[in-house]
């Protein structure tokens, strides 16, 4: 069965520091992969997506993610976080009409 795993439930990072959020997937073939961000009480906003081609993808708000087939990973990175980046982050995979499979999310806390 296809699955997406986010190993870290909470991550705390100091403002200005770099960030990496982990995501691992389990699919029979390379899936389409996504990162979404959710502010409290809001819907999900797409940060970036990977379909094929260049394994390093750029997204909005200064985020990027790298697809590594050998590690079945699609980690999200940002060189320098801002207090406004505090939110819940979801990795997701899929690509068919039956929707996306989401990880359980990583709650990002930014320390001043």
């Amino acid at each position: 069965a296809q699955s997406v795993t986010q190993p870290d439930i909470h991550i705390t990072v100091s403002e200005g520091a770099s960030l990496e959020l982990r995501c691992n997937y389990s699919y029979g073939a390379t899936p389409y992969l996504f990162w979404y961000v959710q502010s409290p009480g809001q819907g999900l906003q797409l940060l970036l997506k990977y379909f094929s081609g260049d394994t390093l993808v750029q997204g909005i708000k200064g985020f990027e993610a790298e697809f590594k087939r050998s590690q079945s990973s699609f980690n999200l990175r940002k060189p320098s976080v801002h207090w406004s980046d505090a939110a819940e982050y979801f990795c997701a995979g899929g690509g068919g009409a039956d929707g996306l499979t989401f990880g359980k999310g990583t709650h990002l806390i930014i320390q001043p």
Partner: protein
Amino acid sequence: SQTIHQWPATLVQPVGSPLSLECTVEGTSNPNLYWYRQAAGRGLQLLFYSVGIGQISSEVPQNLSASRPQDRQFILSSKKLLLSDSGFYLCAWSGGTNTGELFFGEGSRLTVL
């Protein structure tokens, strides 16, 4: 541009009462439509999806049902709510590119007391 609307944004209902959450998409035609539920610490669980009017696929057995009476309208219902139905419900749509990218509404917070 495409937009998606959900209502109500917040709902407090007693156990055993009915439920109706509505979702409407504008600016596109024949979208795929989805209902997800988000419970604390459990990520997003797909409840229902629809690829066309009157076509509903259920992902998990539960106390809920879905309907798609019009091309861009998706409704989540229950005849009798349970305490376990509490959660944050998200409607989403995707286009015909078959790449699976979902666009989400702002969500509906349901509390069953």
